[in-house]
């Protein structure tokens, strides 16, 4: 099993790295793209760790006063576990089950349990990300403030790689159950999307309450784990192993994590073919009768095609519309609960004042997170020949992709912006900015995403999740989008003498100018780039 597992993992790694590597060709341009992307990734990783350390130092200072420093690693371990569940559920289809090369892999003389173990390990490796960027900095900050003994270091590093193992198995069980049940419905995608969205909102609610719980626990100096461990016992073992020097709990945590992984691998293997067969099956009624056909313009046809593509994939919707969903949840929260209640929920005193001055830019972070265009070109994949051979101008194809992004982000901006204006009553200038700024970000995000995907395309995927979630284009677009939001916030904070309204208006105007330039480039150089794709 060992050698076969290694070979399967090597293939999975190669595929993951290939999807991340923007410069696949050995040409000079390809090497330049790879080098540039590597630099961006390294810079982003550095910034992420620096931000995590900065944030944990702020928390540590408060926790030290309350003599509750151990809450820090406990909390971050809980966050990592939670994130692993949260982000793995919708990766299950495509990674563990229903993956693109299922037929080929299953035809190889490899045991099913080995295939299941390799796929589960890939899910696990993807989740080590959170541990590296969150748990390691948290451990370092804790060690700096508390100067613990050698046991802490040894136990922390020993436990560290096992933290996401059980959460990944939990996510795999939930994800498989959702897909298995929804596969029985005629409109399985709709059911799948509805259930996953409901789960997403539910987890959001839990995460808010968990945040509250942590802060309350920190205030009273109690153990955060006591509460979390009631729901998730390994968290209690983790805390006992780490802070009480208990080797039994250390072994228990590692042992249970490994055992859960192995048991799930064997359990999944026994039902592997049945689950995959059910997921691969598409309902077909074969009872169609010819009826009147709806005729549309070429643009409307392309736009409808893009919308269908978007809503046909739970992964695409969840990954690209997460910001819009969060934006809507925030709007509903302040509409029905008021800003004060949201401030209490988020433990942010002065939230109303912050929203009035930073609001238009702050809510734009949701728009920056909602970029459907960053993978829309890559998603053409093996269908690329179709748009290339049809008599539709490339500009029209681009416009249809941009229009889908704008349909989502502009609708969310207008509706949620109106709610924010009603609740916050920011005055005329503020109200105008609550529309203008998110709208400027909507246009910019859609155009920027498309431009980035044209520069970093990947058409050779077998699993759509590799371009929707793990591709260079999506990551670069996300970094640029977040940087575009962070810049005016930093400017508002730095330019204390200038009223925030002016900075926000300037940001909207600047984004409009950049968008105009981007549009021009996409419709000239972008078109040529698209025509040259092979």
């Amino acid at each position: 099993m060992g050698n076969e597992l290694k070979l399967l993992l090597r293939v999975e790694w190669k595929r993951l790295l290939d999807s991340l590597n923007p410069g696949r060709s050995k040409s000079r341009a390809g090497s330049r793209k790879t080098a540039l992307f590597s630099a961006v990734v390294l810079a982003a990783a550095g910034l992420l760790i620096a931000y995590a350390v900065f944030y944990f130092v702020l928390i540590a200072q408060q926790l030290q006063k309350a003599d509750a420093m151990r809450v820090l690693p406990e909390l971050v371990m809980a966050i990592c576990s939670f994130m692993a569940v949260f982000t793995s559920i919708y990766k299950v289809k495509g990674t563990l089950f229903g993956f693109g090369d299922y037929d080929f892999i299953m035809s190889l003389p490899v045991k099913t349990v080995t295939v299941a173990a390799a796929k589960l390990l890939m899910l696990y490796f993807m989740n080590l990300f959170f541990c590296v960027f969150l748990l390691l900095p948290a451990g370092a900050v804790y060690a700096y403030y508390e100067s613990p003994g050698a046991w802490f270091y040894a136990a922390f590093l020993l436990l560290f790689p096992f933290v996401p193992l059980v959460p990944v198995v939990i996510a795999a069980v939930i994800g498989a159950a959702i897909h298995f049940v929804s596969a029985g419905f005629k409109h399985s995608n709709v059911v799948n999307l509805a259930v996953t969205l409901a789960l997403f909102v539910g987890l959001m609610f839990v995460s808010f309450n968990t945040g509250n719980f942590f802060l309350n626990a920190a205030k009273i100096g109690g153990s955060f784990t006591a509460g979390f461990a009631r729901v998730y016992p390994p968290a209690g073992w983790y805390a006992k192993a780490l802070f009480e020097g208990n080797a039994v709990f250390l072994l228990l945590f590692i042992g249970v994590s490994l055992l859960t992984y192995l048991l799930f691998s064997y359990a999944a293997a026994s039902r592997f073919k049945a689950i995959n067969t059910r997921l691969a099956a598409v309902a077909a009624k074969s009872d169609y009768r010819l009826k009147e056909l709806n005729v549309s313009s070429a643009f409307a046809a392309l736009y409808k095609k893009e919308l269908k593509r978007f809503f046909s994939s739970t992964n695409y919707v969840l990954n690209s519309a997460v910001g819009i969903l969060l934006f809507t949840i925030a709007s509903i929260a302040i509409l029905f609960g008021g800003v004060d209640k949201l401030a209490v929920m988020m433990q942010m005193a002065g939230l109303k004042e912050m929203l009035v001055s930073f609001g238009p830019v702050a809510v734009s972070v949701f728009i920056a997170l909602s970029c459907t265009t960053a993978c829309s070109v890559s998603l053409e994949g093996k269908n690329l020949w179709l748009v290339r051979s049809l008599p539709a101008p490339v500009k029209l194809v681009f416009l249809s992709k941009i229009a889908v992004n704008l349909t989502l982000s502009v609708t969310a901006s207008v509706i949620n912006g109106t709610i924010f204006i009603i609740v916050l009553k920011p005055g005329l200038a503020g109200a105008l900015l609550f529309y203008a700024v998110p709208l400027a970000y909507s246009v910019f995000t859609a155009l920027m995403g498309l431009a980035v995907n044209l520069a970093y395309p990947n058409f050779s995927w077998t699993n759509e999740i590799t371009v929707i979630k793990q591709s260079a284009a999506v990551m670069i677009a996300l970094v640029i989008g977040l940087a575009a939001v962070a810049a005016p916030i930093a400017a508002i904070a730095a330019l204390k003498t200038v009223h925030a309204v002016w900075v926000e208006a300037a940001a909207a105007a600047l984004l409009a100018c950049i968008s105009a330039v981007l549009y021009r480039r996409i419709m000239t150089r972008g078109v040529k780039t698209f025509e040259a794709f092979e």
Partner: protein, 238 residues
């Protein structure tokens, strides 16, 4: 209808896939494009249909340059690839209607053609199902129906009979003959030499990116069978 002059295409890495080929497909021709795997057939076809850019040479469709007037050329051309990778997230009828919208086929004509071809290929009952539920052959049939929806002047097919059942193959051959009789031109690649021999009035044989024979079928094969000529020209003859 289709004129290829000195077409050359080199892929990244320096591989010369097509090296200065020229040929002419006239109205009414069923032109067979034959060659071993990797000879350059699909590259040529993709260049003709505007999918692939090429660095030198010229391709004219109905007198219009594929490079200079790509949309006008595509409007009178239909392409059916060897692998029918069509939008799996659509139903069969939605896909055909999508293609009809792009070609701006009139509603009545569109409905009439859908009925005609879907009935011919026995696909009518399946049109409401998602393409992801279709077999390879069913996808191929949908790709063919969609290609015929705008009544193209030039039909380009890459290995069209692979994956089709004998009945569908027979129907497609008849459609190809009918279309040519009505003034259309057909350019297709195939490995099935018997089909080329029975169906085509002209053939071209390509080997390592170069044309080794081109012209009317009888002239190319002389007194031999097309298979013997092909084997000799592709370096496998006795």
């Amino acid at each position: 209808m289709l004129e290829i002059n000195n077409l050359a295409k080199t892929y990244k890495g320096g591989k010369k896939a097509v090296d200065g080929i020229s040929m002419k497909v006239e109205t009414g021709d069923i032109f067979g494009f034959i060659g071993p795997n990797g000879a350059g057939k699909t590259t040529t076809i993709k260049a003709v249909t505007g999918i692939l850019e090429f660095e030198s040479g010229e391709i004219l469709i109905d007198g219009m340059s594929v490079k200079k007037e790509p949309i006008a050329c595509k409007k009178i051309t239909a392409y059916i690839p060897d692998n029918p990778d069509i939008y799996e997230f659509m139903t069969g009828i939605a896909f055909i209607n999508f293609v009809g919208d792009i070609y701006q086929v009139e509603k009545g004509v569109r409905e009439e053609r859908v009925k005609k071809y879907a009935d011919l290929f026995e696909m009518t009952a399946n049109l409401g199902d998602r393409i992801s539920s279709y077999s390879h052959g069913m996808r191929q049939k949908i790709a063919i129906i969609a290609a015929l929806i705008h009544s193209p002047k030039l039909l380009v097919l890459d290995e069209p009979f692979v994956g089709l059942d004998p009945n569908a193959s027979y129907i497609l051959k008849n459609i190809m003959r009918d279309m040519c009789a009505q003034g259309c031109a057909i350019f297709f690649s195939t490995h099935i030499l018997e089909v080329a021999e029975k169906l085509c009035n002209k053939v071209a044989i390509i080997r390592e990116g170069k044309l080794v024979a081109c012209g009317p079928l009888e002239q190319v094969k002389g007194d031999e069978s097309l298979e013997q000529v092909f084997l000799e020209l592709s370096g496998h003859g006795e």
